[in-house]
Each structure stands twice: as C-alpha cells, then as structure tokens.
C-alpha cells in the first residue's frame, strides 16, 4: 500500500497546512489511511504529530488543505466526524477524581451507547485494559500503563471505526507498551482504522505503515521494510570470514553488491536483494577461495533508519536555505 492507491481510505489529508502566527507547524502534508490499517506517526517532539491529529479530530482548524475522516469534511462538519472517532490525547484526559467505572459510564453516556449494550461494552473495556477487580478504584491511583489502557477503553467504548491515538505509550513501561500494541492490533484486525503517534522509533515496527515527520513535513512514509530500504538504499547482510581485507576487495566486485564495509571483526554488505545474495555470495566467494564462515541478513533498527533519514532531511533543508 503506498498512499494514493488506497481505495477504501478512512482518513485523507491533502496538502494540509497549519500555521500558528509565523510558525509553520504542519507544512503541506498529504496522506491516506485505509480501513483496518495501523498507521504510525513518528518523529521527534514538536515535529507536528499532535497538531495533525488534533486537526483530524476537528480540535484545530487547518490553515489550508483538506481533511476527510470517514468521508466527511472535518472543517465543514466536525460534529458528524466526532460520531465516528475515538481519541486519546497526548495529555492524559480522563477524570482522575472519578473511578474506572464512573469514567466508562460517563463516556458511555456522552456517546449514547445503547443502555442494553453498555454493561457489556464496559465489561469489554475493563477486560481489555486488564482492570478487572479495580472498577471502583479512583483513576488517580492507577499506574501509568493502566491509565493509558483505560483511556483506550474509553475511546473504543462506542465502537468507533476510526481511532486517533496521540502518544498513547508515552511514559509507559516497556512490557505495558507491548501489551498496548497487541490491543491496537486486535482492534485493527476487527477493521478499526488506527492512527497512532509515538516518539519511540522502535514502535514503528508494530505499524502497517509509518510516516516519519520532521519539522511539520512527512519526510518518509511506507511499511517498516520499505522505510529501511529507502534509508539504506538496499538491504544489509552480515558476513564473517577469515581474511577481512581480500574478502572486502572481492565483495566490492561481486554482482548485486552495492557497498561493503568493515564492521568490527566482520563485514557489512549492502545488497539490492538480500534473499538472492544470501545464496549467491557464499558461492561467489568460495570460487575465489574466500569462503565465509557465516552470512546472515541483519535488520537495522528503525531508530538508526530514522536518525539517518532525519539527518538527510536536515542537510537538504540547509542546502535549500
């Protein structure tokens, strides 16, 4: 899936711009999110992720551009959009002085969840958040991970087809974060469209597609693998061998190899197609009497990828300026 060919787009942004005075928070951003897709917004703090999400929820008016959520123009009819979305804001925004149950009941009332269904929906949210037995606990007394899961529970109580989650895992411990992502995927499997922002770069791995946002612009968008390919210009192999120097020289002549470099006691080889090179390269080197002791594909961390993409983007901007 790559943007414009998504037929069943639930969220569409076209040439979106948001200015606060002279500061441009969102700079001509366009993207589409398909039904049941988990789209990640990644980027450093202040990149404009929250601003885009708030525009999608109708909380901020865009300076220019068009936004459709569930096929409805957000600027023209924000109230109808709000019937279709669930939102988790960056700052925790449930009522801390209310209990788990009271918060759920409140949002059930606000979204007019049919009374007959409410008990079952509340049960679902409580089980999902793992809050069974704590229904009467004040939200203020819950740990961060539980609070965030309850917030998600409140956001999905009315079964919205579209979810906007703004840094839902921020400040949550790693095991809870993992659990949170499992919940997101369960919802997506049921056809819920999810847009989730995070500043934990590794969390992009959990998304179907991720958009890397820097200084108000999308600098890369695609599946995690595609993003890695884009950043490196190829795929990466790790090669261990006896003679580093001659092997390096031989590899640079080898077919399918883009680049090779020494990495500690081993070599990093950048290739166009990892699967093919995994079978071809050992044979090629064996012919030259330089058989490698080990060849395997390595997956660079997305964090590395993003650091590089942002560095490239910054360099381009400096050049332009």
């Amino acid at each position: 899936m790559s943007g414009s060919d998504i037929a069943d787009a639930q969220v569409v942004a076209e040439d979106l711009v948001k200015r606060f005075g002279v500061f441009v928070a969102v700079d001509h951003v366009s993207f589409r999110i398909g039904r049941g897709e988990v789209m990640g917004f990644l980027g450093p703090n202040g990149a404009g992720k929250s601003t885009i999400i708030r525009i999608l929820c109708g909380l901020l008016r865009p300076s220019a551009g068009r936004v459709l959520v569930a096929g409805i123009d957000v600027v023209k009819d924000p109230e109808r959009v709000r019937e279709h979305i669930g939102y988790m804001s960056q700052k925790f925004s449930l009522y801390r002085d209310l209990t788990v149950e009271e918060n759920l009941r409140f949002f059930g009332g606000i979204y007019r969840v049919p009374r007959a269904e409410l008990a079952e929906r509340m049960r679902f949210a409580i089980d999902m958040a793992g809050l069974g037995g704590r229904e009467k606990a004040l939200v203020a007394t819950l740990a961060g991970g539980w609070q965030q899961r309850l917030a998600l529970g409140c956001a999905v109580l009315h079964r919205p087809p579209i979810l906007f989650l703004d840094e839902p895992t921020s400040g949550v411990e790693p095991t809870s974060r993992r659990r949170f992502w499992d919940l997101i995927h369960t919802l997506a499997a049921d056809g819920v469209t999810v847009l989730v922002s995070t500043h934990y770069m590794d969390e992009a791995e959990y998304c179907h597609r991720a958009a890397l946002i820097n200084q108000g612009r999308i600098i890369a968008i695609g599946s995690p693998d595609a993003l890695k390919h884009m950043a490196l210009g190829g795929e990466l192999l790790l090669l261990e061998c006896a003679a580093l120097g001659p092997t390096l020289a031989a590899l640079r002549q080898a077919p399918g190899v883009i680049d090779a470099s020494v990495f500690g006691n081993s070599l990093h080889v950048l290739v166009g197609d990892a699967e093919r090179s995994l079978t071809e390269l050992p044979a090629y080197l064996a012919e030259k009497a330089l058989p490698p002791s080990r060849v395997e594909r390595i997956h660079p961390s997305l964090e590395d990828v993003f650091v590089q993409l942002i560095a490239v983007d910054m360099a381009k901007r400096r050049q332009a300026a």
Binding site: R54, C57, G58, L59, L60, R61, P78, E79, R82, E83, I85, Y87, M88, S89, K91, F92, S93, L94, Y95, R96, D97, L98, E102, R105, F106, F107, G108, G109, I110, Y111, R112, C154
Partner: protein, 378 residues
C-alpha cells in the same frame, strides 16, 4: 440537546463536587460564615455612643439632665471630666465621640429667662456618627426640656394638654422598629448568593481546561448546550441549598420578619441563581484558568453587589449616572425583590419589573455563554 448526554455531564459533575472538598467548602461553609460575619458586622444602628460629660455647675438640675443622657439607650457615659483640656484629650484618644458641657449658670439662667444652653462638642472625624449623635443629643435635651416645662406648669397649676397644640406622630411601615438589620439582612442574602454562586461555576470549565480533560470532552459529539446545562443543574441544586440556608438564618436567627410567600421566594431566588451561576460559567468559558476565572468572578460579583445593589447604600441617593449604572447590576433586582418579599410581603405581580429584568439577564448570559463555548483548542 440530548437528555442522555446532559445526564452524563450532570452525574459526573455531582461526583466531582462530592470529591472536591474545596468546592464543597465554598458551597456550604462560605455562605454560613458570611451570613454571620456581615449580619453582625454591618449594623447601621448607633447605640451606646460613648460620651464625656463636663458638668460645670454641679446642681440638682444639671445632674438631672445628665441622668437623662445616662438613661438613653443611645449614649453611654465614658467619663466625667472636669476641664476642657480633659474633654479634648478624651476625644483625641477616641474614648468618646461627643462631650456634653453644662455651663456654670445653667439652672440660674433657666430660672431667670426660662431658657438655658447646653454645649455639645462633637468629633467630626466621622461625620455620620457625629450627625447621629447630634440628633440624639437634641432628642435627649428636648425630652428633658419637656419635663422641665411640665413641672413648671404643674407648679403654676396648669396641665400639659392645654399647651400642646400640635405634634407630629410618625409611624414607620414595613420595618416598624427601624432596625437597620431588617433592612440589611435580606439584601445580604442576595450579596452572598451572588458571590458564592459565581464562584462555584467559575471553576467548572476552567478546571477541565487546566486538567486536560476538556481536550477529550470537546473531541466527543457533546454540544455546548449539553455541557452548560449539565454543569449548571447540579450547581443550581447546591445554590438552592445555600439560599435556603441563608434565608433560614435571616428569618430564624436574625428574626427578620418574613411576610411574603415561599412560592414567590422560590421563583425569584431560582431566577437570581440562574443569573449568577451562568455568569460564573461564562467567565469560566472565557478565562481558561481557575485562578483567573475565580478572581474575575469575585470582582464582577462582589463589588457591584456590595456597592451598587442598594443592599446598604440607597440607590435613590446616588448621583444620576451611577444610578443608571445600577440598572446593569443584576443583584440590584434581587435585592429589591427580596426586601419586598420579606418586609412588604410582595407577590409576583408587584415584582413584575425586577423579575422581567432578571429573566432578560438570564437569557442574555446563557446565550452568551453557549456561544462563547467553542469546541476548539484555540
């Protein structure tokens, strides 16, 4: 307007009020303490004005006159002095507000010419008290003068009736005892309700902005009207409680006569509460900070209610342009209404004008507040 959402907001608000000792304290304790503080503190009746006496004659007659002062409820003799410097010093020290000086030839002159002068020296630094003390002094002296006349006529063998051709007999209606308390306490209820009511609701929206809960609330399909009425209803109930509290203290503790009907009182009080609660709410919507909104509510309600509502300072006596301003002060209407209900037993028909003003005010503020509430972050 969806009843379901209205109810959800109202229930949530009740739970939050219940769990927030600060709002509960404002709601319940403040009216109670203020009723007593102001009820006792603001008292325009001057009684027991401290005076010094300087009797330069020391005759039976002069002592008789001073006994009249002593017997009067309005004066309390602080010192008997024996010289002018002592008298001046007593006034300077603030021991007394006035000095009564009886000249050395007091009884002699009275016997010779039938009239004698008594000197009253007044501390003019507080002209109000001085004026009142002057009036009371006149009253005491003329009372004494009457007694003297009567005894002289007695001796001459005539009776009083023959020489008293005319007299004004004044009769005060509605506040027969001319107790300023009867006049002030009902107005005080209005002032306190204005203050407390606006304080309560001034926190309700700003708190949600400050705590970040508003961002989620505005992302839901809830409407401006649902938020407003859902939040105002619980406070209206609290307001009723407070009003009942204050009115009971006024009627039972301060014994202000109540001559109206409970129905009129309930109707007008509800209207007034609607105005003050929605003014607090409007401020809360406009100023998204709790401290800012609550201070603004204090300024907007307290000062006008105290000074321009006619609660203590009569509106008739204000300069014309200030009098025009008072028409904007919503407390003014309720002060008029509640005084009339308590003291005159007025009903809705007599109070139609101020009631219509309050209704107009309520509608205006509610419309403003509903429009001011925006479901956007900036």
């Amino acid at each position: 307007m969806r009843l379901r959402r209205l109810k959800a907001i109202a229930v949530k608000e009740v739970l939050q009020i219940w769990r927030d000792p600060r709002s509960l304290m404002i709601a319940l304790l403040l009216p109670f303490t203020q009723m007593f503080m102001f009820g006792y503190g603001v008292n325009l009746d001057l009684k027991h004005i401290p005076i010094c006496t300087f009797d330069r004659e020391g005759s039976q007659f002069s002592q008789d006159l001073l006994k009249h002062f002593q017997a009067s409820l309005y004066f309390a003799i602080a010192h008997d002095v024996t010289s002018y410097p002592q008298l001046a010093a007593a006034i300077d020290r603030g021991d007394c507000r006035a000095g009564i000086v009886i000249p050395p030839d007091f009884s002699e002159r009275l016997n010779d010419s039938g009239t004698a002068a008594v000197q009253a020296i007044l501390d003019g630094t507080d002209d109000n008290t001085a004026n009142i003390a002057w009036g009371y002094t006149m009253a005491v002296v003329s009372g004494f003068s009457n007694d003297v006349q009567v005894s002289q006529l007695d001796r001459a063998g005539r009776t009083l009736q023959q020489i008293q051709p005319m007299a004004v007999q004044s009769r005060v209606w509605f506040n027969e005892d001319l107790e300023s308390r009867n006049f002030i306490i009902p107005g005080l209820v209005a002032v306190i309700m204005a203050l407390v009511g606006a304080q309560l609701t001034s926190l309700t929206i700003s708190r949600e902005w400050e705590r970040g809960t508003m961002e989620l609330l505005v992302s839901t399909p809830v409407t401006s009207g649902e938020v407003m009425f859902g939040k105002l209803i619980p406070y209206l109930v609290l307001g009723w409680l407070d009003a009942a509290f204050c009115l009971l203290i006024a009627a039972l503790w301060f014994e202000v006569p109540f001559r109206g009907t409970l129905a009129t009182l309930f109707l007008t009080t509800t209207l007034f509460l609607a105005v003050v609660l929605s003014i607090g709410y409007l401020l809360s919507v406009l100023i998204r900070s709790q401290v800012g909104a609550s201070q603004m509510a204090l300024v907007v309600t307290m000062l006008p209610a105290m000074l321009l509502s006619g609660y203590v300072f009569p509106i008739d006596q204000m300069p014309p342009f200030v009098r025009d301003i008072t028409y904007l002060i919503y407390s003014r209407y309720y002060v008029t209404i509640i005084k009339a209900i308590f003291l005159k037993g007025a009903g809705v028909a007599e109070l139609l004008m101020p009631i219509l003003f309050l209704i107009a005010y309520t509608v205006a503020v509610v419309v403003l507040a509903a429009r001011a509430f925006r479901k956007r972050l900036v």
